[in-house]
Symmetry: C2
Subunit: 192 residues, 2 copies
DNA sequence: AGAAATATAGGACAACCGTCCTATACAGTC
DNA sequence: GACTGTATAGGACGGTTGTCCTATATTTCT
C-alpha cells in the first residue's frame, strides 16, 4: 500500500509550487527538494508529472468543496454567502497579489499548453459557478438568471485578481469589492 | 546593418507563438520553424530569448498605441471610444476563446516566472489604463474617479476574457458586453 | 528471526533547452 | 573581378528536463 502521508506531502508541495511558479516551470527537482525526498523515489508515489497534476487538481477540488461547505455554515443567508466568495480576494490577498488566482491562472496555463488535464482544471471553476448559482437561486427565485449572475460574479473575481497581481494595488481591490457587495445587496433587497 | 525584414518576421512569429503557447513553452526551434530559418542564424538578429521577448513587448506596445489612435479616429465621443475597447472581446473572439487576453496572460506568466521583463509587459496594460482614464476624464469632468473607472473597465475585460477561454461561451461574453455598455451609457448620460 | 513487500536513494537515459562557434553563401563596394 | 561585411546553416556545448532502472534500507507479516 502506498504511503499516504508522503503522497499528501508531495501533492501539497506540488500544489503550492504549481500555484507560485506555474505547472511547466516547476520541475521534479523543485518538488523533491520541497518535500525532502530524492527524485528517484518519486515514481513509487506518482507515475508521471501529469499524474501529480491530476492529484493536485483533485486536491483543489476537495479543498474547494470544503471551503464552500464552510461558507454555508458561516453565513446563513445566500447574500452573505456570495459576499464570502467576493471577499476571498482580501482574505487571500497576500498570495493573490503575488501569484494571482490559483484557479484562473492554472486553467489559463493548461489551456495554452493544450494539456489533457485542462478540462479537469476548469471543474474547480465550475464548482464555484454551481455553488454561486445555487445561492442566486436561493436569493431571488428566478432560476433562469442565476447562472448568468454566477458567471458575472466569477468574471468579476477573475478580473480583479488579474489586475491585483499586475499592479499589486490593495486599494483598488477593496474598492471593487465594496462596489460589488453594494450591487449584490441592492440586488437582494429588490427581490424581497 | 541588420536585415529589418527578417527581424520583423521573427518578432511577429514570436509574438504569435508567445500568445498561443506561452513564453516559456515556446522554444527557439518553434520560432525558427515558424519563420523558416535555422536556429544558428537567430543570434544575428537577437542575442537571446529575453531579447526577443523585449522586442515582442515593444511590438505590442507599438501595436496598442496604433489601435488606440484608430479608436480615437473611428469614434468621436469618449463613450463610443470606451465601448470600442469593451467590444474588443467580440472583435477578437476567435483568438480570445482559444488563448485568452494576450496582455493579461503574458503579464500573469511573466509574473509567475519572476521574469525581468514583467514590468515592461504590464506597460501594455497601463497603456490601455491611461487611455481609458483620458476618455473618462473627457466624459465626466471628474478626474479624481477617472482612473478608478478605467481600472474597473480593465478588470471587467480581463475577467470576461479569462472565463471566455475557460468555457468558450460566446453568449456569456455578449451578455457581459451588453451589460457593461448599458452601464457606461447610463454613466455618460447622468454626467450631462 | 526470516521472508516478503514497500520506501528510498542515486544515477543512467535520451531528448530538449538556450547559447555559441565555425564554415559557407551572398551582398554591395572599390 | 577580388574584397569586405552581413546572412545563413548546421552542429557542438553544457545544462536541465521527465522518465526509468537498480541497489539498498526500512517496514510488515508470518
Amino acid at each position: 500500500m502506498a504511503d499516504k502521508a508522503t503522497d499528501q506531502r508531495i501533492v501539497a508541495a506540488a500544489d503550492d509550487l504549481f500555484y507560485r511558479q506555474g505547472y511547466e516551470h516547476t520541475s521534479f527537482r523543485d518538488i523533491a527538494e520541497a518535500v525532502g525526498i530524492s527524485r528517484g523515489n518519486f515514481y513509487h508515489h506518482y507515475k508521471s508529472k501529469d499524474d501529480i497534476l491530476r492529484a493536485v487538481i483533485e486536491r483543489r477540488l476537495d479543498n474547494t468543496r470544503l471551503l464552500l461547505r464552510q461558507w454555508e455554515q458561516q453565513a446563513s443567508s445566500p447574500l452573505d454567502r456570495i459576499i464570502c466568495f467576493v471577499k476571498i480576494l482580501t482574505t487571500n490577498w497576500a498570495k493573490i497579489r503575488l501569484y494571482g488566482c490559483p484557479v484562473g491562472t492554472l486553467t489559463t496555463e493548461l489551456s495554452k499548453l493544450d494539456h489533457p488535464a485542462k478540462k479537469q482544471a476548469s471543474e474547480v471553476l465550475t464548482l464555484f459557478r454551481q455553488w454561486l448559482k445555487a445561492q442566486f437561486i436561493a436569493l431571488e427565485k428566478a432560476p433562469e438568471k442565476a447562472d448568468e449572475l454566477a458567471m458575472h460574479v466569477l468574471a468579476f473575481s477573475q478580473g480583479v485578481a488579474t489586475l491585483a497581481s499586475a499592479y499589486r494595488d490593495k486599494a483598488f481591490v477593496q474598492r471593487e469589492i465594496d462596489g460589488m457587495c453594494k450591487w449584490l445587496t441592492q440586488l437582494a433587497a429588490q427581490q424581497e
